[in-house]
C-alpha cells in the first residue's frame, strides 16, 4: 500500500519500507512528512557513572539511541467503504494497524506489542517514535491528568538549573491523555488510551513508551524486576491505540480536547440475544 485516504485525512506509506511516510489534513490543506516506527531502549544494568539499573521505578536506558524493532514492516492493505486499514508487521512480537474510518477526523494507530523477548539477556523498553521535520526548538507539551497542558523544555526545568545526567530518561514525562509538538504553523498531537511515558528527545520527534520488560530490580523498594510473565512465562502482550491529529496551531486544541474527551468517556457497548421480556419497575 502507498496510501489510505478518507475525506479528511490521507496517510502515505513508503513502498520500500512499509512505514508511514506522511500525513495530510485534506480539510485544512496541511501536509507533514514523517516516519513512524517502533524502537526499544536497552535497559541499563548499571555502569561506571551509576550502579542504578532500569526497573519498575527507574527508566534508565544504557544508550541514548533506541534500536529499531525492524527497519521495515511487512504490510498489507484492507480497503472498504467504511474503513481503510494498513496492517504492519514489524516482528513476531510487534505489529500495528493504521486505520482511517469514514468521516473520521483523525488517524488511528492500533499497536500490539509483546511478548517482549528476553532471550538475549537484554531488558527492553519499547517505544513508538514519530519523526518529523517540525522545528520545535526543544519544546514539547504533555498533559496533566487531561487538564492543564504543561510545556516541557528539553534538558531544562522551569524553577532550577538542571544538570542533566540522563539525556533520555531525564526528559521523559507522564502522558495521561496527550502529547504534542508544534512549530509556528503546524501541530501534531497524539492522544493515548492510557497513561504512558513520553518525550521529544530530538527536535521534531515524539515518542511514547508502550511496553517494557526488565531483568533486574532497581533497588528502590519493590524488590523484583518488572518482568511480567503472563500465562505461559513468555511475557504479556499489550494492545492500545494512539490517535494522530494534524492541525493549525491555533485550531488544534479544539480538535484534541474534543477527541480526548470522547476517548476518555467512550461509549459502552452492551450486547444481547434480543430475546428479552417486557419489563417495568412496577
Amino acid at each position: 500500500p502507498d496510501k489510505i485516504q478518507n475525506q479528511y485525512y490521507r496517510v502515505d506509506f513508503d513502498p520500500e519500507t512499509g512505514l508511514m511516510s506522511g500525513i495530510h489534513n485534506l480539510e485544512k490543506n496541511i501536509s507533514l512528512p514523517l516516519t513512524q516506527s517502533f524502537y526499544w531502549y536497552n535497559a541499563s544494568i548499571g555502569n561506571e557513572e551509576s550502579s542504578q539499573p532500569s526497573g519498575a521505578y527507574i527508566f534508565r536506558p544504557n544508550n541514548s539511541s533506541p534500536l529499531p524493532v525492524s527497519q521495515h514492516s511487512r504490510s498489507y492493505l484492507v480497503q472498504n467503504s467504511l474503513v481503510q486499514e494498513v496492517y504492519q508487521n514489524f516482528s513476531s512480537w510487534c505489529s500495528q494497524v493504521v486505520r482511517l474510518y469514514k468521516d473520521q477526523r483523525y488517524v488511528e494507530l492500533e499497536w500490539t506489542v509483546g511478548p517482549i523477548p528476553i532471550g538475549d539477556g537484554c531488558g527492553k523498553e519499547v517505544i513508538s517514535l514519530i519523526d518529523t521535520k517540525l522545528q520545535t526548538g526543544g519544546v514539547f507539551y504533555t498533559d496533566s491528568n487531561g487538564r492543564q497542558i504543561m510545556q516541557r523544555r528539553r534538558d531544562s526545568r522551569e524553577t532550577w538549573k538542571l544538570n542533566q545526567t540522563e539525556p533520555v530518561a531525564g526528559n521523559y514525562y507522564p502522558v495521561n491523555s496527550r502529547i504534542y509538538i508544534k512549530d509556528k504553523y503546524t501541530q501534531l498531537s497524539v492522544l493515548t488510551d492510557r497513561s504512558q511515558g513520553g518525550s521529544s528527545i530530538r527536535d521534531g520527534s515524539l515518542e511514547l513508551m508502550v511496553h517494557r520488560r526488565l531483568l533486574y530490580d532497581d533497588n528502590r523498594g519493590v524488590g523484583e524486576p518488572l518482568l511480567e510473565n503472563g500465562f505461559f512465562g513468555e511475557g504479556i502482550v499489550v494492545r492500545g491505540r494512539h490517535l494522530l491529529l494534524l492541525d493549525h496551531v491555533e485550531e488544534a486544541a479544539d480538535a484534541h480536547r474534543t477527541l480526548a474527551l470522547q476517548q476518555y468517556m467512550s461509549p459502552q457497548v452492551v450486547l444481547s440475544y434480543g430475546d428479552g421480556i417486557p419489563y417495568s419497575q412496577e
Binding site: V83, N89, V97, V270, Y273, G276
Partner: protein, 176 residues
C-alpha cells in the same frame, strides 16, 4: 441486586501510589487487577438494570470485555443479536463498532428502523494468534452508530445468507 460500591472500593485501593505507577510487587498488582475486575462485574449489573428500565425490556445483557482481541461469545455464535451503545458525553457522536462474527454478511437495523451500512472484514492473523483459544471469530462486523447525548441507541443485527451466485457447487452438485 446491583451495587457500584465494589468498584468504588477497588478504585479507592487503586489510588495508592504503587497502583497508579505500577511499582507494586507482581502479586499485589494481580490483586489490584482482580479487585477492579470484580468491581466491573458488579457495575455490569448496575448497567443491565438501568438499560432494562430505559428500554422496558429485560434482556440477558452481555459485556464483551475482550472485544479488543475480537472475542465475544454472543456475536460469534448468534445469527441475530442486539447492540446497545450508551454515550456518556453531553453531545451526540458517531461511534465505530467492531464485533467479532463468523458470517459473511449482516444486516444492521438502526434505532429508527433504518438500514445501517455495514462491512465484514477478516480478523488479522496476528489477532488470531494472540487470542489463543478464547475466540473463534474469523471476521469482524463494522458499522457506524449514531448515539444521542447522554443516551443510548440500539441496533439489531441479523446474519444474511449468501445469495446462490456466491455458493460454490461441487462436481457432485452438493452445495458447499
Amino acid at each position: 441486586q446491583s451495587n457500584s460500591t465494589v468498584m468504588r472500593r477497588a478504585m479507592g485501593v487503586a489510588q495508592h501510589h504503587d497502583a497508579v505507577t505500577g511499582t507494586a510487587k507482581q502479586p499485589v498488582n494481580n490483586d489490584y487487577t482482580l479487585r477492579l475486575s470484580q468491581g466491573w462485574d458488579s457495575c455490569q449489573v448496575v448497567i443491565s438494570n438501568s438499560l432494562s428500565s430505559l428500554t422496558g425490556i429485560k434482556e440477558n445483557f452481555a459485556f464483551c470485555n475482550l472485544l479488543n482481541i475480537s472475542v465475544c461469545h454472543v456475536t460469534e455464535t448468534a445469527n441475530n443479536f442486539k447492540v446497545f451503545l450508551y454515550n456518556p458525553l453531553g453531545r451526540s457522536i458517531t461511534w465505530n463498532v467492531r464485533l467479532p462474527v463468523n458470517g459473511h454478511a449482516y444486516k444492521v437495523i438502526g434505532p429508527n428502523d433504518e438500514t445501517i451500512p455495514s462491512e465484514v472484514v477478516d480478523v488479522s492473523d496476528f489477532t488470531k494468534e494472540l487470542r489463543l483459544y478464547q475466540g473463534r471469530a474469523e471476521r469482524e462486523l463494522i458499522f457506524q452508530g449514531q448515539i444521542p447525548a447522554m443516551g443510548f441507541s440500539s441496533f439489531t443485527v441479523g446474519k444474511l445468507s449468501l445469495p446462490d451466485r456466491f455458493v460454490f457447487k461441487s462436481k457432485k452438485g452438493k452445495k458447499q
